[in-house]
Amino acid sequence: MNQNGTGGPAGPKILSARFDRTDGHRLAVYEQEGGYQALRKVLGGMQPAEVTAIVKDSGLRGRGGAGFPTGTKWGFVPAAAEQVYFFVNADESEPGTFKDRYLLDYDPHQTIEGTIISCFAVRAGLGFIYIRGEFGWLIDRVQKAVDECYAAGYLGRNILGSGYDLDLIVHKGAGAYICGEETGLINSVEGRKGQPSIKPPFPAVSGFLKKPTIVNNVESVASVPWIITNGAAAYRAFGTEKSPGTKLFSVSGPVKRPGVYEIPLGMPFRDFFNDVLGGMADGEELKAVIVGGSSVPVLPADEIMNCNLDYESLGAAGTMLGSGGMIVIPKRCDMVELIQVLMHFYWDESCGQCTPCREGTGWLHRLVKKLRRGEGTPEDLERIEHVCSGMAGLTICPLSDAAVMPMRSFLAKFRGEFEALVQHPAPVAASSRWPRGEQE
């Protein structure tokens, strides 16, 4: 069934232990494999602060893209807060990313157990799993697993006799990339457009219904039961000092074995590519890799080959680990065509609140299209840079930067392909003309 991906071939299976099974979504199977023991341990006498401390010590970093330490985030909830909300972010809409889908499809109980423990740690009484609307079949599956939990006494009132009460709602999104941004997500569940809000205040202080709210990615939450059962030190035995533990990478593009893989952070890309992915598919040659979802800078083959897959190594190479959505680009692909696809996406998904993002994404999309129509001029390449500098770091949320990072890096690393489309010499009239608005 799961012919498209597995956990890593060897090495730890903290997240992917049941990816190869077809029945791993059943409560009975999960319990047979030790499921809900971590919850029993937590509710059997641990304090919320102890749970938070273990997660902090484990060094777990948020797997939604930003890599912020999970335990530290939990610690921001004011101690005096009486009502706290917890959201699991399963909006998974970053192009190239399809790992959370595997976690919820093959092993929903692991995420649910992690959610209950996380809710306890921040003293939340109501949690939500926000699943993108396109994952219709997955929503049914997760809802069934939640229902099983209520029936088994893992959710609801007085969980496992501990006195802790928790409700968990599976919330279905309705098609908006921006709802993956944590404040957009919160506004969406309040019954509004999914437009992000200015931070501060940060959700941990004032979020859903103006109450302290923690938003964590599915994979972050799914890592929690293992950490509680095995301890922070055991988790730190994998990965690197600053990037502890394991991470899922979802790999797309013409490699021999695309799919979702769990690897210890810090693995050399070269080994991952050759040994785990089996290299390129027959007849294909590696050109470039977008390593962490479409919003991070692209690296040409020779640069990525020298990277290790962890936050620091990728940062030093000028890109980011992001969501772990690895897009492998073959030689046959035209980079200007690919960036047009991406600029269309960001333009389409901009929520429109901030002028630099709303207008900038449209300008970039039109400038790239103009180049591809053969009407571009050398000035247009400068204009792209000019538009990018007016967009980066100036907006309510990072979607604007998320468009700039691929745009700038495609242009910098593959400038020759852009220049080849430019007319020399520039037609005078055209060079002074701002690209006209047009739809794809």
Partner: protein, 180 residues
């Protein structure tokens, strides 16, 4: 699925759907926060959200028309017009593009005689280009309702169309054996 609901005054949900709306209002912490799931109840029953459905939610959730309409139009999966019987939503984002989404779209356009974003004259099919569907490693892919078809080729797309014309929605890659 499709009831004659164009008439605003004649809008009525089934008792089951109305009960689901009441349950949702009870579960969500504020009435307004139940707006998205309530819109889904109407979408699931009617296939789109007619003006009468907007009125119903305004009343039940005690929110303004502006609020309901704003949410209805912000999210691409909520629809405020009747839909084709089968809307084929083809991912045209980067990974699928690399693996052949454009030739797949051209093929579908040719087979159905309509362009991306259009509906066939008989109202049977529509094709839409959509952003990443979370199946990037299994692309090109398309979504039909809550079914996801992966690893598509023009041949597989033809088989899908033929089957839909016979009134059969074929097993999708996300439908799992032995699962209810």
């Amino acid at each position: 699925m499709s009831m004659p609901m164009e008439d605003k005054a004649g809008f009525a949900l089934s008792p089951g759907a109305l009960a689901r709306i009441e349950t949702l209002i009870g579960r969500y912490p504020t009435k307004a926060s139940a707006l998205m799931p309530c819109l889904w109840v109407i979408m699931d029953e009617v296939g789109w959200v007619p003006p009468g459905g907007v009125d119903l939610l305004v009343e039940k959730l005690e929110v303004t028309h502006a609020r309901v309409n704003e949410v209805l139009t912000f999210y691409t999966m909520f629809r405020s017009e009747p839909q084709a019987t089968h809307t084929l939503q083809v991912c045209h984002n980067i990974s699928c593009h690399i693996m052949g989404a454009r030739p797949l779209i051209s093929h579908l356009e040719q087979r159905l005689g309509v362009k991306l974003g259009q509906r066939t004259a008989d109202g049977m099919f529509a094709i839409e280009g959509v952003e990443c569907l979370g199946a990037c490693g299994m692309g090109p892919c398309l979504q039909l309702g809550s079914h996801l078809y992966e690893h598509l080729t023009p041949d597989k797309a033809d088989t899908l169309l033929d089957s839909l014309r016979r009134g059969v929605v074929p097993r999708a890659d996300t439908d799992r054996e032995g699962v209810e």
